[in-house]
Homo-oligomer: 118 residues x 2
Amino acid sequence: MNKIDMSAAEPSYPTPYYAVIFSSTLTAEDPAYQATAAQMETLAEQQPGYLGIETARSGMQGITISYWQTLEAIKTWKAQLEHQTAQQRGRDFWYQHYRVRIAKVERDYEFTADPAQG
Amino acid sequence: MNKIDMSAAEPSYPTPYYAVIFSSTLTAEDPAYQATAAQMETLAEQQPGYLGIETARSGMQGITISYWQTLEAIKTWKAQLEHQTAQQRGRDFWYQHYRVRIAKVERDYEFTADPAQG
């Protein structure tokens, strides 16, 4: 029986930090959307206070969570010029609906399976 | 050009509330996992303080976010007996890795495309 490996149960980033939870419904599959999303991810990585990103998609339903050191970093990224343009294109063409949640991450722990016991 | 429909830009739930961000990597596709995940979702809905759930998966990478009124509600759900059993099965068989983040949602807003301007 696997136990949680507490030695590896480190926070991914020092808490507290912030998460932008972006839950979206696309209007249609569009390669231009994929390209822009990838560009925005690369651009986000270059912003001050950026920590990381996680994304998953089931059909038209997507969840993307970006992690940031401070609320100020989130505000700066939201206002970034190319990102502003991408956000507008998203509203004009790509998104049927989205919801944005700004959340303060207070706890963070992980589990990694022990390969020897797999 | 679509504008954000501010009349619809309501928080999904009264802020502040809490999010459990569960980011996982599965070891393999397993129908038993899908069945248990669906059962746990139904069970979560019956817990006090439950607000909602969002989930998406790209291959073996999944993100599930459940929303709760209070930290106490999250603690009670984590300790729920059938949920405990499912968590243990997850560690024994289904998850190669997971990370849990507990976050306080401070802001929440949405965009809905205007169908007339699609």
